[in-house]
C-alpha cells in the first residue's frame, strides 16, 4: 500500500560522522492508510546493491526515528503510546559503510511491513530506487 509514494531518491541521505560516511538515512512514510503505534511496525528491510554486490540489512541493524526520538526495533515491540502518523516521514538509519557508492549508482530496495489487525494478507510496502552519490544529500551525525 502506498508503495510508489512511501519514499524516493530525494529521501535518502549519506550520514557522516567524523568525516566518514557511516550509513544512510532513508525517510519513509507509512505503507498503510492510517497511522499506527510503534508496536505495530512489524518489519523493515533494506537491500543495497552496487557494483560491488548486494547486501541485505535487517531491522536489528537499523534504528527508527519518529517525532524526534530514535528507537531500536526490539524496543518498538512494546511501545503503544508513540505513533507513526499517516503521511509522517520517519527515518530509517541503515549502517551502510560508505553509504551511496562512489563507483556508480546504488540500487535500494526499501521494505516496511505493518502488522494490520484486519488484513492478515497486507504485504510489506516496497520501493525500489536508484540513487546517485552526486545527487544524494549529506547529513552530519
Amino acid at each position: 500500500m502506498y508503495d510508489k509514494f512511501m519514499t524516493n531518491p530525494n529521501d535518502v541521505e549519506n550520514v557522516v560522522m567524523n568525516g566518514v560516511v557511516v550509513g544512510l538515512n532513508i525517510k519513509v512514510k507509512i505503507p498503510y492508510y492510517r497511522g499506527v503505534c510503534l508496536s505495530l511496525v512489524e518489519d523493515a528491510k533494506v537491500i543495497v546493491g552496487d557494483l560491488l554486490g548486494e547486501k541485505i540489512y535487517t531491522k536489528d541493524q537499523m534504528t527508527f526515528t519518529v517525532g524526534g526520538c530514535t528507537y531500536d526495533f526490539d524496543d518498538m515491540e512494546t511501545i503503544t503510546t508513540v505513533r507513526w502518523e499517516f503521511g509522517e516521514k520517519a527515518i530509517l538509519f541503515v549502517p551502510v559503510l560508505n553509504g551511496i557508492s562512489e563507483y556508480g549508482p546504488t540500487n535500494l530496495e526499501v521494505q516496511v511491513k505493518i502488522r494490520a489487525s484486519y488484513n492478515p494478507h497486507l504485504k510489506a510496502g516496497v520501493t525500489r530506487m536508484t540513487v546517485d552519490r552526486s545527487a544524494s544529500k549529506v547529513v552530519e551525525r
Binding site: 492508510y33 492510517r34 499506527v36 512489524e42 502488522r115 489487525s117
Partner: protein, 331 residues
C-alpha cells in the same frame, strides 16, 4: 426531509499523505462539492493529537465546521487487536472495550454522535461497551462490508443482541461495496501490472458480474491457459465481490444510522462503474430514510503500486460521486 450527502475524508487520503491537502483543506474541499456531512478517521488525519487533542485543537475543529457549514457525522474507529507482538491471543475483551472507550470519548469531544466499528469486531465487544456509549451519548455502528453478507449468521447474531438489549447505541452502517456487481477496470489493470493475464482477468470479472459460480469460472480460465497468478487473482476477485440484492437492506432500515458510499471508479457522466447506486438509493427513498451517505472513495489505492504510471484524481472522483448522489436523491 431527504437523504443527506456527506464525505468521508478517507476519500482524500492520497492528497493528505502527499502533503497536498491538510485536514482543513480536506474539509474545505469536501464542502465545495455541496456535501454537508464530514466523516473522519482520526488515526489517519488527527485533529491535533490522536487520541487526546488539546482544547485548542478541538476549538479549531469546531471553528472549521462553522466556517465551512459542515457537521461531524461519523468517526471511524479501529481496535488494533494485534497490538502486542508475540501474544498467542489477541487483545482481551476488556482491552478491546478500553480501546472502544478511548474512541467514544474522542468522538464525543469532536461532536460525532456515531462511531464506525469495523465489521470484524465481535458482538460481545460492542455489547460490553454499551454503557460507555450511553455515557458519552455516541452510537456504535458496526459496518456491514464485503465479504460479510447482509443476511449472514454473523449479522443475525449482532441484530439479536440489539434486540435483546433493546438499545439505540448499537446500530448498523452498510457499505455500498455490498452492491458491487463486478470489480472495477482499475482493479483489473492492477492485477495485470502484478503479472496476471489481462484477457483472463476481464473474463473472470465478466463472469462474476453474471454471478457464475467460481468453480465454473475456474474451468473457463483453465481452458484459457490460466497461470498460478491468474488463479490466485481470480479467486481474490471472486472473494471480494459479493453482490447483495439491494432489497435485502429494507428489513434492516430500523437499525441503520449511516451509509458508507463506497466508490472505486466514476466515469465522466458521474456513474459508478461497478456499484448499483440507483437500486439502493431508490430503496432508501421509498423507506423515507433521511440520514447521511458519506462518499468513501477508495479507487486511489488501485494506482499505488510502483509500476503504475497513472495516479487517480481523488478530488474529481469525489466530486463526480457527489453529483451522482445528488442526481439520484433529487430525481
Amino acid at each position: 426531509m431527504s437523504i443527506k450527502r456527506g464525505i468521508s475524508l478517507y476519500s482524500y487520503q492520497q492528497a493528505y499523505y502527499n502533503g497536498e491537502l491538510d485536514l482543513e483543506g480536506c474539509i474545505a474541499t469536501a464542502a465545495s462539492t455541496g456535501a454537508t456531512g464530514i466523516e473522519l478517521i482520526p488515526e489517519q488525519m488527527p485533529v491535533g493529537n490522536y487520541p487526546n487533542p488539546s482544547e485548542a485543537d478541538v476549538d479549531r475543529w469546531f471553528s472549521w465546521m462553522d466556517s465551512y457549514k459542515t457537521t461531524p457525522t461519523c468517526m471511524d474507529a479501529f481496535i488494533d487487536f494485534k497490538l502486542y507482538k508475540g501474544r498467542k491471543s489477541y487483545l482481551t475483551l476488556k482491552e478491546q472495550v478500553q480501546q472502544m472507550e478511548r474512541d467514544l470519548k474522542l468522538a464525543s469531544r469532536l461532536g460525532f454522535s456515531l462511531i464506525r466499528v469495523l465489521c470484524k469486531i465481535h458482538t460481545d465487544v460492542i455489547e460490553a461497551a454499551l454503557p460507555i456509549a450511553e455515557y458519552y451519548n455516541v452510537k456504535m455502528g458496526r459496518e456491514i462490508h464485503p465479504p460479510v453478507l447482509i443476511d449472514s449468521p454473523y449479522m443475525e447474531e449482532y441484530i439479536n443482541m440489539i434486540e435483546r438489549k433493546n438499545t439505540k447505541y448499537a446500530v448498523i452502517i452498510p457499505d455500498f461495496g455490498l452492491f458491487a456487481r463486478c470489480p472495477s477496470d482499475p482493479y483489473i489493470e492492477e492485477t495485470v501490472r502484478n503479472g496476471a493475464t489481462r484477457e483472463i482477468m476481464y473474463h473472470t470479472a465478466k463472469q462474476i458480474e453474471n454471478r457464475k459460480p467460481f468453480a465454473e469460472i475456474r474451468k473457463d480460465i483453465e481452458k484459457m491457459g490460466a497461470t498460478p497468478m491468474d488463479y490466485q487473482q481470480a479467486q481474490v476477485m471472486d472473494y471480494v465481490t459479493k453482490f447483495n440484492d439491494p432489497a435485502k437492506i429494507q428489513p434492516l432500515m430500523k437499525y441503520i444510522s449511516h451509509f458508507h458510499g463506497k466508490c472505486y471508479d466514476l466515469d465522466e457522466d458521474c456513474n459508478e462503474t461497478t456499484i448499483d447506486y440507483p437500486g439502493v438509493i431508490s430503496i432508501l427513498k421509498k423507506t423515507g430514510w433521511d440520514g447521511y451517505i458519506s462518499t468513501e472513495y477508495e479507487g486511489q489505492r488501485l494506482f499505488h503500486d510502483q509500476n503504475c504510471a497513472e495516479t487517480a484524481n481523488e478530488i474529481e472522483q469525489v466530486r463526480r460521486h457527489q453529483m451522482l448522489m445528488k442526481r439520484l436523491i433529487e430525481c
